[in-house]
Amino acid sequence: MEVGQMQRSLVDYTKSLFLEGVLDGQFLQLQQLQDETNPDFVAEVVSLFFEDSQRLLNDLTRTLDQPNVDFKIVDAHVHQLKGSSSSIGAQRVKNSCIAFRNSCEAQNIEGCMRCLQQVKQEYFLAKNKLETLFRLEQQIVAAGGSIPIMELSF
């Protein structure tokens, strides 16, 4: 595939992530912080998000598996995940955390279990989509092309 076609595929794919609500405008803020002095900034922050989220999801699974669930601890973990997903623009993950916090507040264990499944689903969707995005970018760079700059004008 020639570079122009790859660049168009990347633009279309990125647009789809915004239209599906996987990403929001905060992701563009992240991209704007990447330059020649920090060429891998987006990938570095997103990797941190992946590590942080995996740890939090493991902690949530463990905490909700206890015979006496401490909803304060569950809420603290969800708050962390909401914060980091919001910072990178992972909109659907963030929104699923908002619903999760409502279940924590109500001390609704079944609600929390459902929300945990939802958050995991949204997180793995975002992870797969972002990994695909980075792969497309790497293919363009490997072929000697540059990454087109995205603007939210659609």
Partner: protein, 123 residues
Amino acid sequence: MNKIRALVVDDNMVNQTMHHRLLENLGIENQVVKNGKEAVDVHYSGKYFDLILMDMDMPIMNGIEATKTLRAMGIRCMIAGVSTRSLDQEKQEFIEAGLDDYQEKPLTKAKLVSILHKINHTT
């Protein structure tokens, strides 16, 4: 213009990295600590900052306690609370601890510029 120095206080590594880079991108020298106690300790070590970006929910010492402690120590620099909390009551307690500004996360370049604008207007 004198170079502004900032302190990022946040326990979340994603936010630490974002806020550090946002500040760096605006030419602001900055240091990152992971909770309120470290923020207080860095001041005890003799360091001085023009701006503190203070998260609210942190282990060991949260943003409210850290802000109260810093103000009690005589620290008068701009302290901007940065949190995902959106309820007025939650924000009010943080503001009353001694904040000069409050911005809801996620922090953006525009929000940071609005904080910096307040530093320039008060010096």
